[in-house]
């Protein structure tokens, strides 16, 4: 498996190394989410993800968790601390797909750092839908719609006042 990390333009690992086809299928699905479709790319990425891990006996969920961690580490390195956070993987994947990263081949993910220009593109493409929230409460304003009526109601101990019904 070590050989995978040294592969260059056409990574290829025989699928026979995978004792569990379900694990391989799960990893393929994961990497297809990044836009990779070529079998060669998927094989190489699966091998890269599981490098140094006891893949032969891995359950699909474990294999997936390892792959996620790998890619997250890669994304954290490339995107920097600015984009660190809970949804790093989803946002990083979106940036990767939006920049058509898969067209650069599996190798781009398998190297610890991406080319500078691609890194710049990726960082600019990370979706940041909103900044962190600073929660506030917008208190509902009290409006006595008819002060004279309110006065009469008080005198006669009337029913509900004519203010907001959502209180």
């Amino acid at each position: 498996m070590d050989s995978v990390t040294t592969m260059t333009s056409c990574p290829c690992v025989p699928s026979t190394v995978w004792a569990r086809p379900q694990s391989r299928a799960a990893l393929d699905a994961f990497f297809r989410g990044f836009g990779f479709t070529a079998e060669a790319d998927l094989s190489a990425l699966a091998a890269w993800a599981m490098d140094g891990y006891a893949a032969h006996g891995a359950q699909p969920q474990s294999a997936l968790a390892v792959a996620r961690a790998r890619v997250e580490t890669w994304l954290a390195g490339v995107l920097g601390t600015e984009h660190a956070g809970g949804s790093l993987l989803a946002r990083g994947r979106a940036a990767f797909v939006l920049c058509d990263g898969a067209s650069r081949g599996a190798r781009v993910l398998m190297q610890p750092s991406a080319p500078e220009e691609f890194t710049r593109q990726l960082r600019a493409a990370v979706p940041v839908p909103a900044p962190s929230q600073v929660t506030a409460v917008m208190p509902e304003q009290h409006l006595t719609l008819w002060p004279f009526g309110e006065m009469f109601r008080r005198w006669f101990r009337g029913a509900a006042p004519d203010v907001s019904i959502s209180r």
Partner: protein
């Protein structure tokens, strides 16, 4: 806090001038009308006629004196007294404050929305103050297709301008409180990050220089709560829209300057193209839910007037500043779209009736509510005035002794009636004349409006067309007012914003009743006398010609023809400001790919899929709003053997569930591979 503490010393004089003169003219006109009507005694329809006349005449008188005030203010050319304006040195200093520019949207065309956001955004760096601004598109879109198209358009925009981290997009899953609720949600989540908030409409466009000016004024005037930059209607091509644009450009400034001149720090807020002091807005402008049922109860529909009143109640001033410039919006493309928008606004404004007497409000805030109500109620009043006049004439024709009319002293004072009519028409058209006079006096402006001769010709043609369209709008608005009072519900759908031709069948369908009213009016008038029919001719003609007027004015080809002839030109067409030109260019340059089926798009397009999932994950908890039954049936359809079309609710449910989307996409990819 003293409610009057921010009004300059001249406020009382200015208000007495406009309101006092309007009152004097109304009383004089009503007395004259009473004299005319009481020649043979006063019948019941005549009493009603007199009351209606007083209300309609008062409304015209207020507009007249406001326009006169605006004319004087424009001629003198001085700034409004009250606010502190920046010195040259202060203008050179970087802004100390942070401002959010928010655009609430609801099922709009994303191409137009994001083109406007981009043009506005790009105009800010040139001012050197980009760091002081963040932009938010606040989506309340309920259609799945609009939602996904917005996400894609937002992502494209951010990548084009490098706006990630500065241009944000948020979609709500529930539309509580509609636009006001949308803005309230923003305030509660991110409002505290900003000193000020500029509110835009879906078709708003603002120049970066105007944004900076507004933020600067807010910095210098800490007790100012809202500054409204009156938007200019631009950017449409249909004849109807070009008429609106022209009228807004020639007469609008006089009216706006007049309103600003006497309302001063107690002006109104129009809901968009305005800057708010965020903390004051959060603390004092949370809208109550009104007791009772619609139309007067429930959520406040037209939130802007109420927010301005609450802001003023809290001791902050509200200013209308026409001189700011650089503030734009688009008019509706045709009469029917205009009426559709009016229907929404009508209910919202009538709802304000229940707030007129609310405790603690500034008298001018109450006046704003009443003026808003009157802008719609004037139509049924005018209609009733016409009908009661007709009834009075019929009464005299059939129930009065004809010999009475021949006796000296009992005959109608026809010259007097004509005089009163002429005065009414004069007051009605004075704002147009004053606006025209100002435009003619400004040589460069007149040149950019086709030259002085074309400008005068355009005003004459616009006046004729507006007079013909007015009776139809009177019937539309009367229908809306009576419908609202009878409890019809208003559908707050997004308005039509594109320049599409109207079919004749649609015109006929919408105006059949109006034409019938026209025929009825003409027949009743002819029963009385041909003279009365001649008096009513402009109204009858407008109603009988409603279909061709609506259909033909909806045509962009006629709008373009008029432009080629130099008619209804505005300076923003002949020499467009950069921000307008840029917005137009972006719309043409970056066409947004349509999304015919949102779920299909998210499942088949890798970019849409990854982006959508990323946005879902950035807003945890969204899927909690998914109706379980809808999600279950969506899953069955998506993950079952044969693909089945999803309902609108199922689409939204599927789009809210990342797991379902990932599973369905994977299933499709696996199928494709095998």
């Amino acid at each position: 806090m003293d409610a009057h503490s921010f009004s300059p010393e001249s406020a009382g004089l200015r208000r007495a001038g406009v309101l006092g003169l309007a009152a004097v003219v109304t009383v004089a006109g009503t007395l004259e009308m009473h004299r005319l009507l009481s020649a043979q005694g006063t019948s019941a329809p005549e009493v009603l006629l007199l009351v209606l006349f007083a209300l309609c005449f008062g409304w015209i008188a207020l507009s007249f004196w406001t326009a006169v005030a605006g004319f004087l203010q424009s001629v003198v050319g001085e700034r409004l007294p009250g606010p502190r304006y920046p010195t040259v040195d202060e203008e050179a200093v970087p802004l100390r404050s942070r401002t959010s520019v928010v655009m609430p949207i609801h099922n709009e065309d994303p191409a137009a929305v994001f083109a406007n956001v981009q043009a506005t955004y790009e105009s800010v760096p040139a001012t050197g103050h980009l760091d002081a601004f963040d932009f938010y598109v606040l989506s309340d879109s309920t259609r799945a297709e609009a939602w996904v198209a917005e996400e894609l358009a937002w992502s494209d925009l951010c990548r084009r301008v490098g706006g990630q981290g500065r241009i944000f997009y948020r979609r709500r899953t529930d539309n509580t409180g509609k636009k006001a609720g949308n803005l309230g949600d923003f305030c509660e989540r991110w409002g505290r990050r900003y000193d000020f908030t500029v509110v835009l409409d879906a078709d708003s466009l603002m120049d970066g220089r105007t944004l900076v000016k507004m933020a600067r004024l807010m910095e210098l005037n800490p007790r100012t709560g809202i500054i409204q930059a009156p938007p200019l209607c631009v950017g449409r091509a249909t004849l109807f829209a070009r008429l609106q644009q022209f009228a807004g450009r020639v007469y609008g400034p006089v009216v706006a300057a007049g309103a600003a001149a006497w309302q001063l720090g107690e002006s109104n807020y129009w809901g968009h193209n305005a800057i708010l002091r965020t903390e004051a807005f959060i603390n004092h402008c949370g809208l109550p839910v009104l007791p009772g049922k619609q139309p007067f109860g429930g959520h406040i529909l037209s939130h802007d007037f109420v927010e301005a009143a609450l802001m003023r109640r809290a001791g902050y001033t509200v200013w209308l500043m026409p001189e700011l410039g650089g503030s734009y919006e688009q008019p509706p493309p045709n009469l029917l779209a205009y009426a559709q928008r009016d229907r929404r606004w009508c209910q919202g404004n009538l709802q304000h009736l229940s707030l007129v007497l609310a405790s603690g409000l500034h008298p001018l805030s109450r006046a704003h509510f009443l003026m808003g109500v009157m802008s719609y109620v004037a139509s049924p009043l005018w209609l009733l005035f016409l009908l009661s006049g007709l009834a009075a004439a019929l009464h005299d024709r059939f129930f009065l002794d004809p010999h009475l009319l021949e006796q000296p002293g009992l005959a109608y004072d026809a010259p007097g009636a004509l005089r009163l009519f002429a005065v009414s028409m004069g007051m009605l058209f004075t704002p147009k004349v004053l606006g025209l006079a100002l435009a003619l006096a400004r040589g460069d402006e007149a040149r950019r409006m086709g030259g002085r001769a074309k400008l005068v010709l355009s005003v004459l043609a616009e006046s004729v067309l507006a007079s013909l369209l007015a009776p139809v709008m009177m019937l539309f608005q009367s229908h809306f007012v009576f419908g609202t009072l009878l409890g019809y519900r208003v559908n707050w759908s997004s308005q039509q914003r594109e320049d599409a031709d109207l079919p004749w069948s649609e015109g006929l369908r919408r105006h059949a009743a109006h034409m019938a009213v026209g025929v009825g009016l003409a027949a009743a008038a002819l029963l009385v006398s041909p003279g009365l029919a001649a008096w009513l001719a402009p109204v009858v003609a407008g109603l009988l010609l409603a279909v061709p007027l609506t259909v033909l004015t909806a045509r962009a080809s006629l709008g373009a023809w008029a432009a080629r002839k130099g008619l209804f030109l505005i300076p923003e067409e002949t020499e467009p400001p950069e921000v307008l030109e840029r917005a137009q260019g972006i719309t043409e340059e970056h066409a947004v790919e349509p999304v015919p089926d949102a779920v299909e798009r998210v499942l088949t397009d890798a970019k849409a899929h990854a982006l959508h999932l990323a946005l879902l994950e950035s807003q945890p908890g969204l899927s909690l709003d998914t109706p379980p039954a809808a999600l279950e049936s969506a899953r069955r359809k998506l993950l079952g053997g044969e693909p089945e079309p999803l309902s609108a609710q199922e689409k939204v449910a599927a789009l809210l569930d990342a797991g379902t989307l990932a599973e369905a996409r994977e299933q499709r990819l696996t199928r494709a591979v095998s």
